[in-house]
Amino acid sequence: MAADFSFNRLPCHERAEVEITVEGQKIFALEGETVAAAVMHAGLRPTRTTPVSGSGRAPYCMMGVCFDCLMNIDGKPNTQACMTEVREGMVITVQTGAREVSGGDV
């Protein structure tokens, strides 16, 4: 994660903070926001690599259409980060290449 990729937070109404782990690092997200938003605020880029060429990708549409924000969330690969709300204690990692067959729920 790099500070220079970090999306900036404007003054917001008060929200509870949720602690999550992204790539082994503990960060705070706002209750009610998506994993995709939280990792962009943290400056994570890319958020996955593709199974075909291994090139990097990051959230593109933020509305569940493009499937480019697929991440490994709480051990479950291929999860749409833009459609998943953060939860206390969530563990999020970059999805590398093809999803692992034994990675979670079939």
């Binding site: 220079d4 404007l10 929200r15 890319p46 259409v65 079939v106």
Partner: protein, 464 residues
């Protein structure tokens, strides 16, 4: 399946069309279920409207907060709103399956209303898959739901009202924009002028556009008009580092960490396609849309469509269409004349609101490079299939989008053709010298969203 909970009306999508329809249906006495994929109602235009996050209301502007009044419709006693609900199957015997946080349920319906809105038009250009490139709509969603603004240097490139709107919103938020690269072709202005009569009728929209352009001008942001050859470039880490384009004979290259792109919106037809509803190619809007009757009925008598998923009209049009369709459905189910009272007035308002469309559609028709890409530009983001590959398939006897799946896996990835479908049709049409209508579209199959086998197994157990 006899024990399924039954509803008079199931609405899919809680944006302006769905919320307005739900209110109307509830008031007409219909037992209504409204399902929405997001945690809170609002759709994309009014995303997070029940719990606005930004302290400064002037950033998103009053058009956004206007959505607050629509939420009231969902609290009607006959309306059940289920959030986080992903619909993945609908059968022609009026049964629908949806998933909420990993658990699937089935319900029965008499009538179904698809109000699934729009998606941004996929805009293939060199580098559009790079980390750091995202849509203008995505930036707006981040602003509305998380109060986040993009990391800079920031460039906004493309064409259309949403591009101007997000630029204004970011300017109001104090975000530095390095440049706006407007790809609207000069020739579009001439074509649009022929529709000036309708545009004058829709003067409120024109005024809004003029105000946005003025706001951008006053901000001093560099504005490149009629730009072409848009390209996003990566650094050694594979992330976006610069954007280049041509204006006239001058080639420009700007350092860039976030590039927001936009080329208009198209109807989200995934569900209607999977239901095998009749669709038609709209040459002016350059997109597919479902074939609908005056009252929003699709080619299936029990399935209706309202809002942008039936053809792009914007939020206010969606709201009016939602009301018209709900009145029609109530009339069909109750056989009471009372339900259609007011429908003529609504239709008149709808016509007024739609008057601006031909002007906008001609003005913001994307450059050919985005509609019919060439060479090594990635078309299918999931399977990384290029324009050249798709075009080349016609030499091997490929005559339609469904065959491209077998030839090169385009449309077979997780997005199920949502990002490449329109382009693949256009490229095949181009190579074969046929119309998009003749070439057709991908056959979309259920489940339209990924659902685990474990979840399916759980569903069959709860049915037993």
């Amino acid at each position: 399946m006899t024990g399924l909970q039954q509803f008079d009306l199931v609405i899919i999508g809680a944006g302006p069309a769905g919320m307005a329809a739900a209110r109307e249906a509830g008031e007409a006495g219909l037992n209504t279920l409204i399902l929405d994929e997001q945690p809170r109602a609002g759709g994309q235009i009014y995303r997070n409207i029940g719990r606005p996050i930004l302290q400064d209301r002037s950033i998103l502007g009053q058009d956004y907060y206007a959505g607050e009044t629509l939420l009231a419709g969902l609290s009607h006693v006959l309306v059940t709103h289920v959030a986080n609900a992903t619909v993945w199957d609908v059968t022609t015997d009026n049964t629908l399956s949806f998933s909420v946080k990993g658990i699937s349920r089935q319900v029965g319906f008499k009538k179904l209303l698809l109000a699934t809105g729009a998606q941004e038009r996929p805009v293939p250009f060199p580098g559009w898959t790079l980390p750091g490139v995202m849509t203008c709509g995505a930036a707006q969603i981040l602003l509305k739901s998380s109060g986040l603004t993009p990391t800079g240097p920031l460039v906004i490139a493309g064409s259309g009202p949403l591009l101007l709107l997000i630029a204004c919103q970011l300017i109001r938020a104090g975000v530095r924009i390095e440049a706006i690269v407007d790809t609207t072709p000069t020739s579009n202005y001439r074509r649009a002028l022929k529709e000036i009569f309708g545009a004058i009728k829709g003067w409120r929209y024109l005024l809004k556009g003029a105000r946005m352009l003025n706001e951008i001008r006053r901000s001093g942001v560099r504005y490149y008009k009629s730009a072409t050859e848009l390209t996003a470039e990566s650094g050694s880490d594979g992330n976006l580092v610069s954007v280049s384009f041509r204006k006239g004979s001058v080639h420009h290259q700007l350092p860039c960490k976030t590039l927001l792109v936009h080329q208009g919106v198209i109807p989200n037809t995934q569900l209607g396609r999977a239901l095998e509803l009749e669709h038609q190619w709209d040459e002016v809007q350059q997109c597919w849309k479902p074939t609908l009757s005056e009252n929003g009925c699709s080619s299936h008598p029990d399935i209706f469509i309202a809002g942008d998923s039936g053809g792009i009209g914007g939020a206010i049009v969606a709201e009016i269409q939602g009301r018209i369709v709900a009145k029609e459905i109530a009339y069909q189910l109750n056989q009471e004349g009372a339900a259609v009272i007011g429908i003529d007035q609504l239709r008149k308002t709808l016509d007024d609101q739609l008057a601006i469309r031909p002007f906008l559609d001609h003005l913001y028709r994307p450059l050919d490079m985005f509609l019919r890409p060439q060479g090594e530009i990635i078309v299918c983001r999931c399977e990384e299939v290029t324009a050249a590959e798709i075009r080349g398939l016609t030499q091997h006897g490929c005559v339609g989008p469904n065959q491209t799946k077998a030839f090169c896996r385009s449309g077979m990835g997780p997005c199920q053709g949502r990002q490449c479908g329109a382009t693949v049709t256009a490229l095949l049409a181009d190579e074969l010298g046929k119309s998009p209508e003749e070439v057709g579209y991908y056959h979309i199959r259920f489940p339209i969203k990924p659902v685990s086998l474990g979840e399916l197994a759980g569903l069959s157990q709860s049915d037993a």
